[in-house]
Amino acid sequence: MLLDYFHVLMMILVAGCFVPLILFFGKFLRPSKPYSEKLTTYECGEEPVGNAWIQFNLRFYSLAILFIIFEVEIALIFPVFLIYKDQVSASFSLGSVLLFGELIFFVGILILGLAYAWVKRDLDWIRSVRIQ
């Protein structure tokens, strides 16, 4: 089992030193005449004004919340799906119906969460400001 992950480690090593190698060899071929105007950040030719880290609004964050909750749900569903086929294709026993019920309960609860976010209009990207 460890041998497979040895392949993964080697691949990460090869990919990791692939980038610096290419950039290092390119360094001899590449011209390098940096002068100050060239090194300013690019703003369609205008003078860069102010600081780059401007304020965002919160809809990015509600998207990240939705993502992580459903990602965790997917991570938890993986084991159920692994044993679902062997359980179901064996025989039409009570066990398979129970397993199906557990699966539906788990997925149904989180579909409720998606419905909540949809009704509360958290899924819209441009939120119509509710004028109280």
Partner: protein
Amino acid sequence: MELHFYLTISACLFTLGTIAIFWRNNLIAILMGVELVLNASGLNFVAFSKYTSASLHGQIFALFIIVIAAAEAAVALALVLRFYQSSSSVDVETANKLRH
């Protein structure tokens, strides 16, 4: 011996997490300390379940730790952002409205 190796690593992570929680005055750094503590306990569970009982119960505990850490991080960071909106700073010292 193998088990000692994993336990020392999780002990170091645990203490670093507590140092981060008590020392940093930036709320998000404190939450990172909490994540370190949760990871340390997850590692402990898996190491003990392999070496002392050769069973999979520890791995399931580590899974549930990861699930709870994700839910906790989502809610805690939402709280931090709401705190940032009301008092426009993420410093722990400014959170003293209950004091006076």
